[in-house]
């Protein structure tokens, strides 16, 4: 699915939502070459280890989760930052608090439009 967003101020309700893993919901908006994805992980939800050619960088907004990027892991909370280079395997395990984060994909993930 792909859709046009109203520019320059898409509202949350204009943006597609996807459940990408059980209990992991995203809401996305994008330009030509980059995508933002607001992520909500329910308590204990898991983004299973995976990789993709898209670069992914982001910011934790609230809650807490264990991030494992390549072989490096860290428990991140609000204000923490991460950088996932192209094709590096990564996984995220939300704490009992759940997690909110802002992910950025470059180029956009077409399947999330």
């Amino acid at each position: 699915m792909s859709q046009k967003l109203p520019l320059p101020f898409p509202k949350a309700e204009d943006c597609p939502r996807h459940e990408i893993f059980p209990g992991v919901w995203i809401s996305t908006w994008w330009g030509e070459n980059v995508m933002c994805s607001l992520v909500e992980m329910r308590p204990g939800a898991v983004v299973a280890r995976h990789e993709h050619p898209h670069e992914q960088i982001g910011l934790v907004l609230a809650g807490r989760a264990l991030f494992r990027i390549g072989e490096v892991e860290s428990e991140l909370t609000a204000g923490d930052r991460y950088i996932i280079p192209s094709n590096v395997p990564h996984e995220v395990i939300a704490s009992a608090e759940g997690l909110r984060a802002l992910d950025v994909f470059c180029p956009p993930r077409r399947e999330y439009q």
Copy 2:
């Protein structure tokens, strides 16, 4: 200035800070093709009208500001989203509350590294 960030978890204190307009501070991190910029606008601070070839998309995290993108303007608050295509003039005027936002630039703004 350009520097290497520690991967994959740069801490805020590892990231460069710049005052890009009076009362407008950013802290940046980036990958090969995309940059995040956490923006703090002091109350009443102004990002003067300007444009750049880099795409810019983002999310308001807290506070309130008037965004004018091209000829369209809107007062944005926490959770609101914006998309600024390449070379479209834009300006931002913070309210008396100030503003926090997460800006994304593609490609990275080399002068903010």
